[in-house]
């Protein structure tokens, strides 16, 4: 697998709300998801499309990658408006058939060629939000190499599709999420998912909850975050990054694992913990990920510093 992308936090925002878009670069997100879909009213769709080309360099100047969420029913018009240099991904809601992904791929391929974008740059986020999408999950995820991660089968739309409450104290999506995760793992692509952490309030700005959720997700091996409110960005960045203690622990595990070499044993117990090649692999994974997170943090800090320097020069 290629080097994992660091996408711990991301804000989804209506591209028509200027205040959100103009401040996006200050938020510290790993990505910004410009929305053309549910947060944009029908009469503003055309206007929203016209804003994307300029919004891409605007929201990414703090180092964030740029995604756009398009409308399920306006694929061609939306793609024509958004596939410009600087766009990393098209998020496609309510994916239900592989033919939809094939069509997206064809249009994106043409637009990349016409607009001087390196072929294959733009990823497709195939969001599974309906029972039909779950049932066709394997075909959808395999439909294009642009699908780099896969998951879903939870959230508002899925709740609506199944006719169930979204905020209950237990996991109501075990089956669908399991199906999609098994598909992603079989294809060797990143799993988009999270372990269940009860949230019965539905709050989108609870930083503590966001941190707990992100930390639990990371400890389960997940890497992808995102949200709707700036208050969850920093908690997600922090929760998805290994803590100093985790890094120290990983070094300790590797040290203990090295003790096994040449002993003829495949495992031993140290301080009540089993140390074997699986623990060693996890430790190496933690260290690699910590490294990637640190690099991503530097990248963003440098980008922000450049913007601030340019601004202070302009104001002199």
């Amino acid at each position: 697998m290629a080097t994992r992308q660091v996408r711990r936090s991301g804000l989804t925002m209506p591209v028509v709300t200027k205040r959100f878009v103009d401040n996006a670069w200050r938020r510290g997100c790993d990505y910004i998801n410009l929305d053309l879909e549910d947060s944009v009213p029908p009469h503003l769709k055309a206007y929203a499309r016209s804003l994307i080309k300029d919004a891409i360099p605007n929201v990414s100047k703090g180092g964030a990658a740029v995604y756009t969420r398009i409308n399920h029913d306006y694929v061609l018009a939306d793609l024509e408006a958004i596939v410009w240099p600087g766009l990393s991904r098209v998020n496609y809601p309510k994916a239900e058939y592989d033919s939809e992904i094939h069509r997206l791929d064809e249009i994106i391929t043409r637009l990349e060629r016409e607009r001087g974008i390196r072929p294959g740059t733009v990823e497709i986020g195939a969001n599974i939000e309906t029972a039909l999408g779950v049932a066709n999950g394997d075909e959808i995820a395999s439909a294009s190499p642009r699908v780099k991660d896969f998951g879903g089968a939870s959230g508002y739309d899925m709740s609506r599709d199944l006719g169930v409450e979204m905020f209950v104290g237990f996991d109501q999506f075990v089956y669908g999420k399991g199906e999609l995760e098994l598909i992603a793992r079989t294809l060797g692509i990143e799993v988009r998912g999270a372990p269940f952490v009860a949230n019965t309030t539905g709050s989108v700005s609870d930083g503590d909850h966001a941190f707990r959720q992100a930390e639990a997700a990371r400890k389960c091996g997940f890497r992808l975050g995102g949200g709707l409110n700036p208050a969850v960005v920093e908690p997600q960045n922090r929760g998805f990054t290994p803590s100093e203690e985790d890094v120290r622990d990983a070094h300790w595990v590797l040290e203990q694992y090295r003790q096994l070499a040449g002993s003829g044993e495949t495992w031993h117990e140290v301080n009540g913990r089993i140390i074997d090649r699986y623990e060693a692999a996890r430790a190496r994974d933690t260290l690699e990920w910590a490294e990637l997170c640190a690099e991503r943090n530097r990248e963003k800090a440098e980008a922000v510093a450049r913007v601030q320097a340019a601004m202070s020069q302009a104001s002199v």
Partner: protein, 310 residues
């Protein structure tokens, strides 16, 4: 439906002679001689040389003997393992029906070459990767020899880590999927419902017992384990307990009394007992009896002096 009582499957590294001697006394229903998980790469060639002796050493202890082999090293591993006294092979990390067919063919050849009855060696498919679980149904139907499915060490191999709830991520889904496929194809679902901090088949005797009870409740019939002190927990956990038996007897008595009077269903306390309930109770009692017989068999076997190793 398998009628064999195989509640505890004790994994023993072939390269460890002391563990083998202990395994004889461990009262496991099945001993699995391992060439995959607990034998280092360097030790494998020497370990293969020892399999025949190990199988002989376990004869007469009352446990069935399986060998765990690597599908990537299938030829070498099966050549080393197929000897009289072997009941079957646990094939780790199986990922396709083609691998099952390959193993089936090889087993047939080895049965001929080594004087075993054709078609008698069994296979247990360990589905420990995403790919293997994805095609579980195909794998389970790929050979008549398949007699069981297990997730083996999927938690480690797929790197599934504990959730805040202590459930091991994805396992509730994978377990139910495997159990459904196993029952659909008439083979034994082997596993237990482990929860953190248990990992990779390691757990205290008490946790192992709890995992076995939960596992039995969702349809598992026996589980792999690694430590000798887990065996008793598995044997007990997968055997109906006294309370369950008493309940089953009550149900049957009430049902029989009812049917004598021409009723299809009777009310006992606040429950309705019909043919389905009675059948279930009968099965539970049959399982308890079979478990008791199996225990006696092992005890008797161990009371005899070990056979001399040729």
């Amino acid at each position: 439906m398998s009628t064999k009582i195989r509640r505890s499957w004790l994994l023993v590294p072939i390269s460890k002679a002391d563990r083998l001697a202990q395994a004889r006394q461990a009262h496991a229903d099945v001993v699995v001689l391992d060439l995959v998980e607990f034998v280092t790469e360097e030790d494998k060639p020497a370990a293969r040389e020892q399999v025949r002796t190990a199988i002989n050493a376990l004869q007469g202890c009352g446990a069935e003997v399986f060998a765990q082999v690597d599908p990537v090293l299938l030829y070498a591993d099966l050549h080393a393992c197929v000897w009289p006294g072997l009941t079957g092979a646990v094939i780790s990390r199986l990922e396709s029906s083609a691998q099952v067919v390959e193993a089936d063919t090889l087993l047939s050849q080895l049965e001929d070459a080594r004087g075993l009855l054709p078609g008698t060696l069994e296979m247990v498919a360990a589905l420990e990767t995403a790919q293997g679980n994805q095609v579980a149904y195909d794998i389970s139907r790929a050979s008549q020899r398949i007699s069981g499915l297990t997730l083996g060490r999927a938690d480690l191999i797929m790197d599934l880590r504990p959730e805040p709830s202590s459930e091991i991520h994805l396992m509730p889904y994978l377990m139910q999927r495997l159990i459904t496929v196993a029952h659909a194809t008439g083979v034994m679902p082997i596993g237990a419902w482990w929860r953190a901090p248990d990992r990779g088949l390691f757990a205290t005797p008490e946790h192992t017992y709890q995992a076995a009870r939960r596992g039995r409740a969702i349809g598992f019939q026996g589980s792999l384990c690694i430590l000798d002190n887990q065996v008793e927990s598995l044997n007990r956990g997968f055997t109906p307990d006294a309370e369950e038996l008493q309940e089953a007897q009550h149900i049957l008595a009430a049902y029989q009394a009812g049917t004598l009077q021409g009723a299809a269903a009777v009310k006992q306390d606040d429950r309705i007992i019909d043919r389905g309930t009675a059948t279930q109770a009968q099965r539970l009692m049959a399982l308890a009896e079979a478990c008791a017989r199996r225990e006696q068999e092992k005890t008797e076997a161990l009371s005899h002096p070990p056979l001399a190793i040729p």
